[in-house]
Every structure is written in structure tokens, then in C-alpha cells.
């Protein structure tokens, strides 16, 4: 049986299986929940088929809407229906990129997808072949697809509501599906692009959190425009402040501890060395957005934001890290959530 026939046979078999037992889906569960994956997958009413890379899971699910509406959906970083798969080791497969690109063209070339976005199953792989496989596949496939598929140069240019063809590839094979970035919960396969945290300019890992949050926000609304004024409470040492300043925002940073010395005299920064609970905005000062990544009891932190939100303009944005110290299990978190409703 030729390669093409094998693919078609595989797809037909998969369709028959879906009809009987549910749809194949790829989900990503962050490594922080390692040890709880089975609990999450079973809780979604799904069956685990195979783990791919560090944190992707191929599952079969009878009610895919649970991926978005179950209380357990919050533990999923990204998801994609699997409309096409080729389990193989690309490195050991002659002409993998050409065969894979041709197969994607045959299967999806006439679809209404806005573009093709490829990503690695394991972005942290030390092997150069694995790291470049996704970009090489996208490059070749876009040579074959209609020219409009190439119009999107940056993943964030995608319309979040229109379907894209997402493709994950790695030493486990190739998995592709059509779905909008908003439904997938990210513009990139897996959710977000890699954000480095070990450059000499990195003040704290919190910077990556706000960078990803602002990226994710674009799935549902426009981020505040450049020049917008943010209030950040609990800002020290300044990891998030740095990211906001890099986007040409103004930042009012409040913390009883001073910010990192590298932020001294930074344009657009106004620093108040004060406890968030004691901070009173100067008369007439308003904010376009507010940010809080404080440690401690999340209720106390939100009370401070609620108090200060009198100075937040209507429609203004709030990004808040809900910290859950002391929570040791998925079940405990979900139970707390359901009990308080």
C-alpha cells in the first residue's frame, strides 16, 4: 500500500472510530499539573490515548464541548481537534516534509482556513532537527497552498474567530486540525510562543506572565493602546513593570519594597514606595488598566484592586493573578469552586 493510500486508509478508519466512540482531540496540560493529567482527562469524560512530548495528550472525547465548558477546562492550556494525523518518526521517514506538505494540501487546500501555523510538539528539544522541523514544514506547505495562506506573517495577525490550520509536529509524528485561535485558546500551536526568562534584562519570571497575558488577551479584545496608563500594585521587583514599559505604556508602580535599580529613571514610570493597602492615588489620577500579581491572600489583593478601581476608566482592563497557595489537588480546587457557587 502506498503512502497516500495509507494516509487515506488511516483517516477513514479514524472517522469510523470517531462515529462510534467520539472525536480525537489534542490537549495541552501544563507540566505544573503533572501527576493530575489522568484526573483532568477522566473529569472531562475523555479517554487518554497517548502522551505526546512533555505536556500534550491525545484523547478521545464523546462531548468535545466539555473542553470549553467543564470546570476542568481551566487546566487546559490549549486544544485542537485532530482532523489529520501521521504517527511516525519524521527523522527516519524519507522525504517527510514533502510528503507531509502534500498530504496537508490534499486534505485542507480547499478549506476556508486563514493560514497554516505549525509548531513543535516539544519546543524544548535540544535537537536542531526537531526545533526547525515545524518552520521547515510550514515553509514548504505554504509554497504549495494558495497564496492567500501566506498573507499572515505573524501569528498574532490571525483573526481569532476564523479557523486556521494548526499543525503540531515532532518525533511522535504530525497532528493537524482546523479550529479558530479563540477556540484553541491561543494563536500558536500549544498556546503561546516561547518567552525567554533568562536574559540579562529579565528582572523576574513575572515578566513572562504579563507578556503571555497580553498575548492571550488579543483572542477576546484589543489590549490597551500604547501610552495607556497602568496601575500595578505589588510591583516589586519590577518584572511586569519592565514588560509594560517595553510596550510604551505608562506605569504607576506601587510596592512597599523598591523596584529593581535597573528601572531607576525609566521613562513612563512613576513609583510609589507604599503598601498597596495604604496607597491613595493623587487627586485626579486615573488609570486605563490595572495589574496585580501580589502574593498573599487573593481576596485581600482583589479588595485593594476593587478599592482602587474607582480611578479606573469605564471599560478599563484588570489583569489579576489568582494565587492558590495550599491547594494540592485538582479535586480540591474544583470542589472549592463548585461549593462557592
Amino acid at each position: 500500500m502506498g503512502h497516500d493510500q495509507t494516509l487515506m486508509h488511516t483517516c477513514e478508519t479514524a472517522k469510523e472510530k470517531h462515529a462510534v466512540t467520539g472525536a480525537s482531540w489534542l490537549i495541552r496540560i501544563s507540566e505544573i499539573f503533572a501527576g493530575h493529567e489522568s484526573e483532568i482527562i477522566v473529569g472531562l469524560g475523555a479517554q487518554a490515548l497517548r502522551k505526546l512530548g512533555r505536556d500534550f495528550h491525545l484523547i478521545r472525547i464523546k462531548q468535545p464541548e466539555a473542553i470549553r465548558h467543564s470546570p476542568l477546562a481551566r487546566y487546559l492550556r490549549w486544544n485542537m481537534p485532530v482532523h489529520h494525523s501521521w504517527p511516525c518518526n519524521p527523522r527516519e521517514t524519507d522525504g517527510f516534509i514533502e510528503k507531509a506538505a502534500q498530504a496537508l494540501l490534499r486534505k485542507f487546500g480547499e478549506s476556508k482556513a486563514q493560514t497554516l501555523i505549525c509548531g513543535p510538539i516539544d519546543p524544548g528539544s535540544p535537537k536542531r532537527y526537531d526545533r526547525t522541523l515545524a518552520s521547515n514544514l510550514r515553509g514548504r506547505a505554504l509554497q504549495l497552498f494558495p497564496s492567500e495562506w501566506s498573507a499572515i506573517k505573524n501569528a498574532e495577525q490571525q483573526n481569532p474567530k476564523k479557523p486556521s490550520l494548526f499543525c503540531l509536529v515532532g518525533k511522535e509524528g504530525l497532528y493537524a486540525g482546523l479550529q479558530s485561535p479563540a477556540e484553541c485558546d491561543g494563536f500558536f500551536p500549544g498556546g503561546t510562543k516561547f518567552i525567554p526568562q533568562n536574559s540579562p534584562d529579565t528582572i523576574s519570571r513575572a515578566g513572562a506572565k504579563i507578556a503571555e497575558a497580553l498575548h492571550h488577551l488579543q483572542l477576546t479584545r484589543r489590549p490597551p493602546p500604547g501610552g495607556a496608563r497602568w496601575l500595578e500594585i505589588g510591583a516589586s521587583p519590577g518584572g511586569m513593570t519592565t514588560e509594560l514599559l517595553a510596550r510604551e505604556y505608562e506605569v504607576i508602580a506601587v510596592d512597599r519594597a523598591p523596584l529593581d535599580a535597573r528601572l531607576k529613571h525609566r521613562k513612563g514610570l512613576m513609583q510609589f514606595v507604599a503598601d498597596a493597602a495604604d496607597f491613595m492615588p493623587p487627586p485626579g489620577l486615573t488609570f486605563d488598566a490595572m495589574l496585580c500579581d501580589m502574593n498573599g491572600d487573593a481576596r485581600d489583593a482583589m479588595r485593594q484592586l476593587a478599592r482602587l478601581s474607582k480611578n479606573l476608566r469605564q471599560g478599563g482592563l484588570v489583569i489579576f493573578t489568582l494565587k492558590l497557595p495550599g491547594i494540592s489537588s485538582i479535586d480540591e480546587t474544583t470542589t472549592l469552586e463548585l461549593r462557592s457557587k
Binding site: A306, Q314, V318, I327, S340
Partner: protein
Amino acid sequence: MKPPPSNSEVSDIARKAGLKKIATRHLTYNRNEFTMFLEREA
């Protein structure tokens, strides 16, 4: 020691202040925490 907060408890404090929750997500760079997005109602 206070029991740990839930998403809903924190959301209630926000809602009473006119802050409407848009989404709660566990993002790649979150640890034992979630990122909440809210906006001030018009």
C-alpha cells in the same frame, strides 16, 4: 489560617466593585495560580 480562596469568592469581590470577569485561564507561565481578566463595566 484562612481557607484558600476560590475563583468565585474573588470574582464576587470584583463584581461588587463593578469589575466584570472576562476569563480565567491557566497560562504557560503560571504556576499554582490562574490569570484572571476583568474589565470595569460601563
